[in-house]
């Protein structure tokens, strides 16, 4: 496998470089773009970021593993990130999680066999006032109930797993 920036990403990164005192600042923005292109961070993608920023591959790899939102493995089409922190726990996140496990037939950290859904638990999503919440890829879903979760999963399945 090899990694090449899309021309749009390459241009964006070149423009962004002007905004910072050092190309080293581009590590996070560039890792985000790799993940956008590949769905996760491949070693080749990490190498491309190292080249761009002047850090070593090992340094960039160390950064990639530090941040929970970067994935070193391919994910399901939809990553369900159920908030498990206190305000959500006080408002029924346990019921939501159990419901998801049962409906999808998987445990936390697993992906459905068809590759559609990955179930994860995350810490506070900064939306405690609308608990319980979960984020599906980049979209936040609030005031969850087992029924609203069902509706949501039905809609996503209807899309046949394509975003």
């Amino acid at each position: 496998m090899s990694f090449t920036w899309t021309s749009a990403h390459r241009a964006e990164l070149d423009a962004l470089k002007e905004r910072y005192p050092s190309p080293k600042a581009l590590v996070l923005p560039a890792l985000w773009k790799v993940q956008e292109q590949e769905g996760f961070l491949s070693l080749e993608g990490i190498e491309a970021v190292a080249e761009l920023t002047g850090y070593s591959k090992a340094e960039v790899y160390g950064v990639a593993t530090f941040y929970t939102m970067f994935h070193l493995q391919p994910q399901g089409t939809y990553t369900l990130q159920v908030c498990k922190t206190l305000s959500c726990a006080l408002n029924g996140q346990g019921t939501i999680l159990d419901h998801l496990k049962e409906r999808l037939g998987i445990e936390v950290g697993e992906t459905t066999p068809d590759g559609q859904f990955t179930l994860t638990q995350v810490e506070c999503l900064g939306s405690c006032g609308t608990a319980p919440v979960m984020q599906v890829n980049d979209t936040l879903h609030e005031h969850l109930t087992p029924e609203s979760v069902d509706t949501l999963l039905d809609t996503l399945s209807d899309k046949g797993g394509s975003l």
Partner: protein, 422 residues
């Protein structure tokens, strides 16, 4: 009786409040139109005189912090960084500013840059705030198109460029030096603090970091004056804060109130009281890093720095987690410690190991496999975590453990006396 006062939230309820058009119709950027009639010193002096305190959790005086940026620093560029990492459980106020009034934040950033002689500003936003980032970026794009940001801001001979920098899911990057490490393309490890007061450093250049809400308060102070801000709040906690309510209240949300407001009145007035007419058991007053208050303590509490300190807790971010009598406090502490264990950056042994041990002991207690020694062990570990680490993450965790175990000991004992090897 509570009177609604809106300084930062005054445009929140307008339809399309996040757009440049609506924001400008309702006063946005007026302070920038006349910017160069003011002196940088005048702006700094107003912020200083207002008594504004940092709204990211620590409450440090903003004026004094800005003064640290004065001087030449061998001609090195100065930077302004806005902390929009907002990951403290129970805290969701900055997200409201980003999505409901991003132009207020941009106006504050322009004033701050001009006052401090900075030309490049960054907003470090937590990775999970994707939708809020889209709204913010749209506002920034609009501001560039309108000539509000860029080479000559609103026609003045002054450049400001503003860039959004997206984090990637690490709570510790909210700590200012970890945030800068992250912005330098590294792991978010907090730096050792210097002994004397100095600015922060971004690639070795003097840098100011303030919270989103702190910066969003600056336009009011500059246009209305320091006294206008000081007329609200208390002597030592002047002004207002966007307090947030979550947990067992009828109307959770973000509501601005003057410092010094009674905590219970706030819960009644804005939160509509405890959910289902229940009774209050405890409140975590300022985000998950602040020690819990019992219902009796909450009844005496006022929402300001001094009152909270007097009760052995802290105002923190003002994000209150309200718990009714149905809550099992052992489970609540376990929930918080799982958070701490997960988010420790791992640099310091007492923090990395301590949070893990506490989490494991609590799991054991909850499984009714604990014994009475475990409570002492929890407090011992907690003591080891206090005051011996690079940043205050571990001491905060320590204070959270102590308060829960000491104030709700009987609940812990119930687990220990009915099972296990007690």
């Amino acid at each position: 009786m509570i009177k609604d006062i809106r300084i930062v939230s005054r445009r929140f309820n307008l339809p399309q409040s996040h757009t440049l058009e609506v924001a400008r119709q309702h006063g946005a950027y007026r302070s920038i139109e006349t910017l160069t009639e003011r002196t940088p010193e005048g702006i700094i002096a107003a912020v200083e005189a207002s008594g504004l305190r940092g709204k990211g959790g620590g409450g440090a005086p903003t004026g004094a912090k800005w003064r640290l940026m004065e001087g030449e620093f061998d001609g090195r560029p100065k930077y302004v960084v806005v902390n929009a990492d907002e990951s403290e459980p129970g805290t969701f106020k900055d997200g409201h500013i980003l999505s409901k009034d991003p132009h207020l934040l941009i106006e504050g950033i322009l004033l701050t840059c001009y006052a401090l002689g900075a030309h490049d500003a960054y907003i470090y936003i937590r990775g999970e705030y994707y939708e809020r980032q889209q709204i913010l970026q749209h506002a920034i794009d609009e501001a560039y198109e309108a000539g509000i940001l860029g080479q000559s801001i609103m026609g003045h001979d002054y450049r400001v460029d503003l860039t959004v920098h997206r984090g990637a899911g690490a709570y510790i990057c909210g700590e200012k030096s970890a945030l800068l490490e992250s912005m330098e393309g590294k792991r978010g490890h907090p730096r050792l603090k210097p002994h004397q007061k100095e600015p922060e450093w971004y690639f070795g250049n003097p840098t100011l970091i303030n919270n989103v809400e702190t910066i969003a308060t600056v336009p009011f102070i500059v246009t209305e004056g320091a006294d206008a801000y000081r007329q609200y709040g208390t002597e030592r906690s002047p002004g207002t804060l966007l307090f947030a309510l979550s947990g067992h209240v009828n109307r959770p949300g973000v509501y601005e109130a003057p410092f010094g407001t009674s905590l219970m009145e706030y819960i009644e007035h804005y939160g509509g009281g405890i959910r289902n007419g229940g009774t209050l058991k405890a409140v975590i007053p300022g985000g998950a890093s602040t020690p819990v208050l019992t219902a009796d303590e909450a009844a005496q509490a006022r929402l300001d720095y001094e009152s909270m300190q007097g009760l052995g807790s802290a105002l923190g971010t003002g994000g209150m987690i309200v718990m009714d009598e149905s809550v099992d406090m052992v489970e609540a502490l376990k929930n918080l410690m799982a958070f701490y264990h997960h988010e420790s950056c791992g640099q310091c042994t007492p923090c990395r190991e301590g949070t893990g041990w506490v989490d494991a002991i609590l799991a054991r207690i909850l499984a009714r496999e604990g014994n009475r020694d475990d409570l002492k062990k929890l407090l011992d570990i907690s003591e080891t975590m206090n005051g011996k680490t690079v940043c205050v993450f571990a001491p905060a965790a320590s204070s959270v453990i102590d308060a829960m175990v000491q104030k709700f000991e009987t609940e812990f004992l119930r687990y220990l006396d009915t099972g296990g090897a007690a």
